[in-house]
Each structure stands twice: as structure tokens, then as C-alpha cells.
């Protein structure tokens, strides 16, 4: 009997103590982390991660509900940064080693409707109504928004071509 009473009393006392402590020592849940992460993301709101924009994606990352590999435009550089920030391991193997993509306008099909450059998050498509549009290679993030809106399927995604400047040596095979 003593055992039951004493342990119950102990439990109740500790529980009360913790409850009170939780009330008096509460720290405002800061979303500093989420905003810091949002600053790291490209901010083009392209939606390739499945979230409606970079802000919600950052919130999901901060609460641990999204993998660090969620952002294709950020590439593996961003994965590493995010992994460092969140203190998790950067598992780049799970990420389909996405080749950077590039939108290309097929000149025969383009009718100059201007739809694509109105959705482009980085203003990477130039053109004017009734004129053939063109993609600025440096500014294109490969988000593919323009592909979805093009009424004549004139925009296609192609892998970014490898040039002498971007070519690098492959990693040597590991000895057995």
C-alpha cells in the first residue's frame, strides 16, 4: 500500500512540477529556422518540390517533413547546404542525379503567345507578342513551368549541354 501511494505521489509531484515548468519556462517557438532555410532556397517558387512555393517548402524542411533533396533547381550544392543546416546526412544517392535541364523553344512551333514568359519565375524567356520567343541559357532554372503552359508544345526541356568549360573528370573507380 505504501508502495502504491508513495510512487503515485512521486509521479504526481513530478508531473505537476514538469507541467508547471512547461508553463513558466516556455520558449516561443521561433520560426527563425524556416526563414533561414527559405533564404537558402532559390526562391523561384517553381513548385517542383510539390509544395506551393519556397516558403511552404522551407517550413516543411524546418519541421522535418520534407527531404533535403527536394529542390531540383538547387542541385546537389543546395542539398549539402541544407543537410549542414539541419544536421542530417546528405543522401544524394536517393536524389535522381538530375542533370540540369534547360528549356528550348522550337522555332517552327512557337506562335508568340507570350504565355511562357509570363510564367517564367526568373524572366529567362524573352520575346514579344507574335514574335518567336527565346530562352536565356544563363537564367533558365529548368523548372518546366513554361512547358506546361505552352499551347503548341513548342517548349521542351533538354539536358544542359556539356561544354569544355563545364566538363570535369569523372571519379576514379575504387579498388576492390
Amino acid at each position: 500500500m505504501i508502495a502504491v501511494i508513495s510512487l503515485t505521489a512521486l509521479g504526481v509531484a513530478l508531473g505537476l512540477g514538469l507541467g508547471l515548468a512547461a508553463r513558466f519556462l516556455r520558449v516561443e517557438q521561433d520560426d527563425g529556422l524556416a526563414s533561414e532555410i527559405e533564404a537558402m532556397l532559390p526562391g523561384s517558387q517553381c513548385g517542383q518540390c510539390g509544395f506551393p512555393g519556397c516558403g511552404p517548402a522551407a517550413a516543411a524542411l524546418a519541421s522535418g517533413n520534407a527531404p533535403v533533396t527536394l529542390c531540383p533547381p538547387g542541385g546537389s550544392a543546395l542539398v549539402r547546404q541544407l543537410a549542414d543546416k539541419l544536421g542530417v546526412e546528405a543522401v544524394t544517392s536517393g536524389m535522381k542525379e538530375s542533370v540540369p535541364m534547360l528549356a528550348v523553344v522550337e522555332e517552327e512551333l512557337c506562335i508568340g503567345c507570350t504565355k511562357c514568359f509570363r510564367v517564367c519565375p526568373t524572366d529567362a524567356i524573352v520575346g514579344a507578342p507574335k514574335q518567336i520567343h527565346n530562352v536565356l541559357r544563363e537564367a533558365c532554372t529548368g523548372c518546366g513551368k513554361c512547358v506546361d503552359v505552352c499551347p503548341t508544345m513548342a517548349v521542351n526541356m533538354t539536358p544542359m549541354p556539356v561544354t569544355l568549360q563545364s566538363w570535369i573528370w569523372h571519379k576514379p573507380a575504387v579498388a576492390a
Partner: protein
């Protein structure tokens, strides 16, 4: 004085909580990939272990013994340790956010750490004064930290080695831990004149 020093040495090296008593093996294998995280874990454990031995001594001497319910020791100890860890976490978070950054994620892990409960139970069974118990806890924590940081250093080196595929990962880690444990057995023959 030398008695206390011997107690510290004995708990930290001769009766190392991880490598000789094989307590707390989960953080030993789990949080030893990087020296940085091993140091964080060590600090948190040192803190909690010392605190836990102190609170459980009080519990033992002021509650369990007077009422003659020592058989409830394990249950009561877990309760008190868990509560004190939670409480500490809250206090640290409120008062020292920087320290919370370092220890924060490791504190909840320690709540159910067998090294903490084990040391508390051992001290309770061996008896001794409050100061003895406190030193026993602190010495054990030092031993835990030493083993953890050493092993993390080993594993950082091992990550660079080309290990045969059969042994890669945890197996070679266990082999290294075994060798380290054997080395610590050597302290058993330590003679202090």
C-alpha cells in the same frame, strides 16, 4: 583526498562504464560517427549522469529506504531520471539557448540511456556517502566521454579506410570497439602505490 582521486580513476578507467561494464552501448555506436557530435553527447551525458546519481541518492535515502520499498528502485529511478532530464532540458532551453544548441538534441536520448540508470542502480546498491555517489557518477561520466570521443576519433579514421565489403560499416565498428575494450582491460592490472 587520494581516496576520491582513486574513486575517479577507478570509475573512469578501470571500471569504464562502456568498455568494461558494457553499459550505454547504443549511444556508443550511434553517436560516434563524428567527433563533434560525440563531444556534444559526452557533455550532455556528464551533466545528466552526475545529476541523476545525486537525485537518485536522495530518492534512495529519503524515500525508498525509510519506507522499505527498495524493490521499486528501478521503477522509481526511471521516473525521477526522466523527469529531471526533461526539467533540465526546459531550464537550459530557457536560460542558455547556446548550450541548448549543443546539448539539445542529445538530452532526450539520454533519458532512456542504460548507462545513466545502470550507474544510478550501481551506486544505490553499493551505498556510500552523497559525495562518494556524486564522484562515482561523475567518474563514470568521464569514462563514458573518454570512450565515446576516442571511438569517434577511430571511426573518423576508419571512414577513410578501404574496409572489405563484408566488414564495412557496423561490423568493423564492433571489431574496433572490441579491441578498444580489450585495451581497457589492461587498466585492471593498474597498481597505484
Amino acid at each position: 583526498m587520494s581516496e576520491y582521486l582513486l574513486l575517479l580513476l577507478g570509475t573512469a578507467l578501470v571500471n569504464n562504464v562502456v568498455l568494461v561494464k558494457f553499459l550505454g552501448l547504443c549511444p556508443f555506436m550511434g553517436v560516434s560517427k563524428k567527433i563533434d557530435s560525440a563531444i556534444g553527447m559526452s557533455l550532455a551525458t556528464t551533466f545528466v549522469l552526475t545529476l541523476a546519481t545525486a537525485t537518485t541518492w536522495m530518492l534512495e535515502h529519503w524515500l525508498l529506504e525509510p519506507f522499505g520499498i527498495e524493490y521499486l528502485r528501478t521503477l522509481a529511478f526511471i521516473l525521477v531520471i526522466a523527469a529531471s532530464v526533461q526539467f533540465t532540458e526546459m531550464v537550459i532551453r530557457k536560460s542558455a539557448p547556446a548550450l541548448y544548441q549543443v546539448l539539445g538534441i542529445y538530452l532526450p536520448l539520454i533519458t532512456t540511456n542504460c548507462a545513466v540508470l545502470g550507474v544510478a542502480l550501481l551506486t544505490a546498491m553499493e551505498g556510500g556517502s552523497f559525495l562518494h555517489t556524486l564522484l562515482y557518477g561523475f567518474g563514470s561520466a568521464l569514462g563514458f566521454s573518454l570512450a565515446l570521443v576516442m571511438f569517434a576519433g577511430l571511426r573518423e579514421r576508419m571512414a577513410l579506410a578501404q574496409v572489405p565489403a563484408t566488414f564495412a560499416g557496423a561490423p568493423i565498428g564492433f571489431i574496433a570497439a572490441g579491441l578498444l575494450s580489450l585495451a581497457f582491460m589492461g587498466f585492471a592490472g593498474l597498481k597505484i602505490a
